[in-house]
């Protein structure tokens, strides 16, 4: 039994995988805090409010555990792990508010969050939920919040950068695994944010204070950190201040080419309805139960909503932050849709990052699914990104058992747009070339023309080699 590569920082315990499920070991050193956490009623309150994943204690003495094990827990399972650099603006904002709500509730029970990592938040369907049951420690009255810096780096700085500088800057979380350094955020934020009291203090002044104290003699710094005090009233006010700051951050969505794609299609409402019915029928025709369907190039999730009827979860990914934001807002309905919208650039998807390149898994390591939807995307991959069709087919075959894919011929108006400014070097990009390329890895089960277009919709099954 080995801890997952993402689980080594906190000595209170670790997460491991066993027989396809995820478990959490609580170490003996954390036994006291963990028992108090359970008996205080905080765990029950957080689970009842849907803020924290529930867990069951494993009572089987033969279950795998290490020598310093106190308890083994089986937490509520998260079907798909996503990372903050894949979330839209509102998803990161939800995760930030969730963290502060948990800290607020924890304080009422005499506890405090000992970390505020964005990686402690996951999405169950479209709802943010906290997954680290061991993040709670007894509150010592008069002490400042040890996770304040981490909260600012993981949530406040990226949110402010997305809102005021550029929404793509959430990608800074890829190069900085412990959140965006405040000195960097302070440099990148526009000057006007210095006149916003919350950002002026939590980011700009915070960055300067960090700089000042890192220059001070180490002994002096250690003494100051140890002596820093904060009455409980002040700590609560700090939480309210952070919550107001996060709540006031808004991102004005630009109207991008793809953001209003469904109002700007090359097919009529009737053809749209027929295409939806066709996708629905193809998914219905798959003779096995589907747990996860991935929708690559999902745009605002129109077809993800159809796929959602056929599986436990649709992971709905698109390169456009506007489309993903719209998709997430739509999915927030009550009850939340079983759709997880994520930002993903398929020509350069999320890499594996962190210690040993293993702490946060790559896109490919996480993309295994039962069925994959690839609608109106193939021309972007093959023409805009120059990926030959056999290479695309091979990648898809490695991640899914079933594939619903739309072939967009060169004569299609959307493909014509892509070819307008460049030489057509894609001699094999034809229906025949497409079918030959995909037949290497897939058997074609069904083909149907997409109404009022020259496009074709295929249902394919992976050939196991």
């Amino acid at each position: 039994m080995e801890a997952l590569p993402s689980s080594f920082r906190d000595p209170s315990g670790f997460v491991f995988s066993h027989s396809g499920s995820i478990y959490r070991q609580v170490n003996r050193s954390f036994a006291n805090s963990f028992d108090t956490f359970l008996s205080s009623g905080l765990y029950d309150t957080l689970v009842r409010r849907g803020l924290l994943v529930s867990h069951q204690e494993i009572v089987d003495g033969n279950f795998p555990r290490t020598a310093d094990c106190y308890k083994v827990l089986r937490p509520q399972q998260i079907p798909f792990i996503s990372y903050p650099y894949e979330w839209s603006f509102s998803q990161l904002k939800e995760a930030a508010i969730l963290t502060l709500r948990i800290q607020h509730e924890a304080l009422k029970h005499g506890f405090v969050l000992k970390d505020a990592s964005a990686y402690n938040v996951q999405f169950l369907n479209s709802k943010a939920v906290f997954i680290d049951t061991l993040s709670f420690d007894t509150y010592v009255p008069g002490t400042p919040w040890v996770a304040y810096k981490q909260f600012c780096q993981h949530f406040l700085a990226p949110l402010a950068l997305m809102a005021f500088t550029d929404v793509e800057l959430s990608k800074l979380m890829i190069s900085h695994i412990d959140g965006v350094p405040l000195s960097l955020a302070s440099k990148l934020l526009p000057y006007k944010t210095r006149f916003n009291f919350s950002l002026a203090t939590h980011i700009h002044l915070h960055a300067r204070m960090q700089q000042q104290h890192s220059d001070a003699a180490r002994e002096d710094a250690a003494r100051k950190a140890k002596n820093a005090t904060l009455p409980e009233k002040g700590l609560r006010a700090l939480m309210e201040s952070l919550a107001n700051c996060v709540d006031k951050l808004t991102w004005k969505m630009p109207k991008t080419e793809w953001g209003n794609y469904y109002e700007d299609t090359n097919y009529s409402d009737l053809a749209g309805n027929e295409k939806r019915a066709l996708v629905d029928a193809f998914l219905e025709g798959i003779p096995e139960s589907l747990r996860i369907i991935q929708d690559f190039g999902s745009n605002t999730g129109e077809f993800s909503r159809i796929a959602a009827k056929h599986c436990e979860l649709v992971v709905s990914q698109d390169v456009d932050p506007v489309a993903v934001e719209v998709n997430f807002r739509k999915s927030l309905a009550s009850p939340p849709a079983n759709i997880l919208p994520l930002i993903q650039n398929f020509s350069s998807p999320s890499p594996a990052i962190g210690w040993g390149n293993a702490e946060r898994a790559s896109f490919l390591e996480r993309s295994h699914c039962d069925a994959l939807l690839v609608l109106a995307l193939i021309h972007h991959l093959a023409i805009s990104n120059n990926v030959p069709l056999p290479i695309i087919a091979k990648l898809f075959a490695g991640i899914t058992r079933w594939l619903v894919i739309e072939f967009v011929p060169k004569s299609d108006s959307q493909a014509i747009r892509l070819l307008a400014t460049r030489e057509d070097v894609f001699v094999n990009y034809t229906q025949q070339g497409f079918e030959e390329a995909f037949s290497q890895n897939f058997s074609i089960e069904k083909v149907a023309p997409v109404p009022e277009s020259e496009r074709l919709l295929y249902l394919m099954r992976t050939r196991w080699v």
Binding site: H104, V146, T201, L238, A243
Partner: protein, 75 residues
């Protein structure tokens, strides 16, 4: 009976040991006191303002962090 009184002290000692696996950062620890002082003053003024509003029958908005806070609509 006497050891019973010592329990909270042990708990505090224990939790201080267990809490700090993160480096909280000296600047971050010191800054919190400063921001909190401003925030406490701000919230005190706000709470008086809400009390005045209440005299005229106006309700006060609830903290976003409370359980029954109104769900927020993204703008």
């Amino acid at each position: 009976m006497r050891t019973y009184y010592l329990l909270p002290i042990f708990l505090i000692m224990f939790s201080q040991q267990a809490a700090a696996y993160l480096d909280p950062g000296t600047g971050s620890m010191v800054l919190q006191g400063l921001i909190a002082a401003f925030a406490v003053v701000g919230f005190t003024i706000k709470s008086y303002w809400y009390k005045i509003r209440a005299v005229f029958g106006k309700t006060s908005p609830q903290s976003l962090l409370e359980e029954n806070a109104e769900p927020r609509e993204p703008e």
